[in-house]
Subunit: 410 residues, 2 copies
Amino acid sequence: MALIVQKYGGTSVGSPERIKNVVRRVAKYKALGHQLVVVVSAMSGETNRLIGLAKEMQAQPDPRELDMVVSTGEQVTVGLVSMGLIQEGLKAKSYTGAQVKITTDSAFTKARILSIDEQNIRADLDNGYVVVVAGFQGIDKDGNITTLGRGGSDTTGVAIAAALHADECQIYTDVDGVYTTDPRVVPEARRLKTITFEEMLEMASLGSKVLQIRAVEFAGKYRVKLRVLSSFEEEGDGTLITFEEDDKMEQAIISGIAFNRDEAKITVRGVPDKPGIAYQILGPVSEANVDVDMIIQNVGVDDSTDFSFTVHRNEFDKAMDILKNKVQHHIGARNVVGDNKTAKVSVVGVGMRSHVGIASKMFRTLAEEGINIQMISTSEIKISVVIDEKYLELAVRVLHKAFDLDLEPA
Amino acid sequence: MALIVQKYGGTSVGSPERIKNVVRRVAKYKALGHQLVVVVSAMSGETNRLIGLAKEMQAQPDPRELDMVVSTGEQVTVGLVSMGLIQEGLKAKSYTGAQVKITTDSAFTKARILSIDEQNIRADLDNGYVVVVAGFQGIDKDGNITTLGRGGSDTTGVAIAAALHADECQIYTDVDGVYTTDPRVVPEARRLKTITFEEMLEMASLGSKVLQIRAVEFAGKYRVKLRVLSSFEEEGDGTLITFEEDDKMEQAIISGIAFNRDEAKITVRGVPDKPGIAYQILGPVSEANVDVDMIIQNVGVDDSTDFSFTVHRNEFDKAMDILKNKVQHHIGARNVVGDNKTAKVSVVGVGMRSHVGIASKMFRTLAEEGINIQMISTSEIKISVVIDEKYLELAVRVLHKAFDLDLEPA
């Protein structure tokens, strides 16, 4: 008998019919003798509907009031799931974030979990109940309802699993696991049986949007065993996210090819090569709430250097405007150039730590196809390059092949 | 400066546009220097939508889980109203029933309010906030979300007004007050400036569905000054529901003509005239959850009597079936007859206490039109008769005229 936390996303609970599928799966696990906590998101579309209503009242809805409104989405789902379980003859009980005392800070719309009082849940589990908890939401110390921001339901699942020392946290989604790359780009892409937390973090942040990155970090911190599964398939073990690198020793050096289509690159040329210059360039950008991804600065020549970074394509114009009008003359840079027709491709794998030549293999593979590399950035377990967006699919396909990702590891 | 509780029903907050009207009205009162608590229902249609979802999961939804789901309706509205007020430059803060600690018993879907902790509301009011509270809902002592049942938002408004000792509780609805009778039946029907609580109770229970009867009872018990107003009209003082009969002394003897179209009458004939017989007849009926309205038993003749009562037309067949198959032979009655083509008309007025001849005037008026009276029942402040439903409109019109209800009181 194990204690399992299952988290179902909005698509998995998108209609009463789909909720009944969730109910059947939960009942199956329950019949095997497991204790179950089920964490659910709002029905797909519901959160957007509620935000739409809010925006009709205020173009920029008050954050406290927005959380009041949006948190109802999950509250509806927990009730419906619970009804379905009771209908199946199970004992079930639903809870809002506030009722389980998922205490967060007061950063409305993007709150962080501080603590969970797991006593009620544990008592219910011991009494044979399936406990159904609203994801994505909590309560601050003053009793205000908060939400964790988009995708926060994953975090709720992991946090509850951590608080209960659950045997496993299963994240059900509309894909059946983590793939070596996006199967829509590379049909030979293969589902990974396991992936390490570090790799998962790199894959997630690089665009393989299976799991919310905060949830992965949280799971890593509290050593929660995480598994990604499909809620639309009866069978399959999904992908287990592990802490143990040992298992990986005999496996592939590279676990996957991540990519991001929405990258735009900006270069500030002729920047005086002196301390504080990076902050003077990026300070105004981040103050305008523009998220920066890759940042590259090469060694300077003649007291002058070029400073490059990437932003989301939607924020390209905004960032260019700030740099040209607020930064360039202020710091005495020569000029600012940008390109929003770029994409980022990364090879990810803990194996590259102990293997040389991964970078050169990657660069050679791209060169053989005539793909020019515009920027390079590396970490311990990944190498990212920025290329012309028109070569993106080609790059992903040839790299997937070059690193033998279409083959089962020996 | 007064402390005013305003309650807006589902139609009044049925869309963002309508909520903006509510916001404007609240802002107007606030600008006059009043302290304001706003109690709101779910947007019209929302509660039914949620119940529909629940019924897709369970034909008879689990009551605790149903309250979990349905209570989100008002939670959405309080957030939206609050946003609207903030957008208008006011300070505003929304609360769920649980957050204000509207403590109820645990009778899910029909809970009763036990207490309200008004401290948070008062602190916010003193700090210049408009406080927006979700109607219809509360929390039991174990922290479960409860609802007060349909129309419970009126009760929430009155209960908060009572807890805060508010100067007035204004109930905004889609009519502009209480009328002498239904204006669709009698175009000359006149809005009453005031009505006593007792009259209101009789009018409400008899079919003038302006205010939830529980809310009126609650207001009477805690002596809350209640006013019914239209949320769709800018001007008008609505109808004030008073405790003071003094004001009525010079006014009309009769305040209004109430009626109920859906009455069905049932008579059990030849009932042995002995103790316990009323219970033996009505016990099985009420056990089947059939509500009984009027009950009449005349003095017996030869140890035998006739026992009559009325039920809602929809429950006529069910009640007849119970009486014929479970009661008649058991108690040795002669037979059971019924008629579901009947209607009830009542004249209501505290004035009739001190005036004789009201009943005879009523009966004469009906007789002059050839309307046969099938049953009569009286209380201190009302006289009700059951008649053939085809005469209903005629009866209401002639009685309205006979008691001079179309004329302003002197």
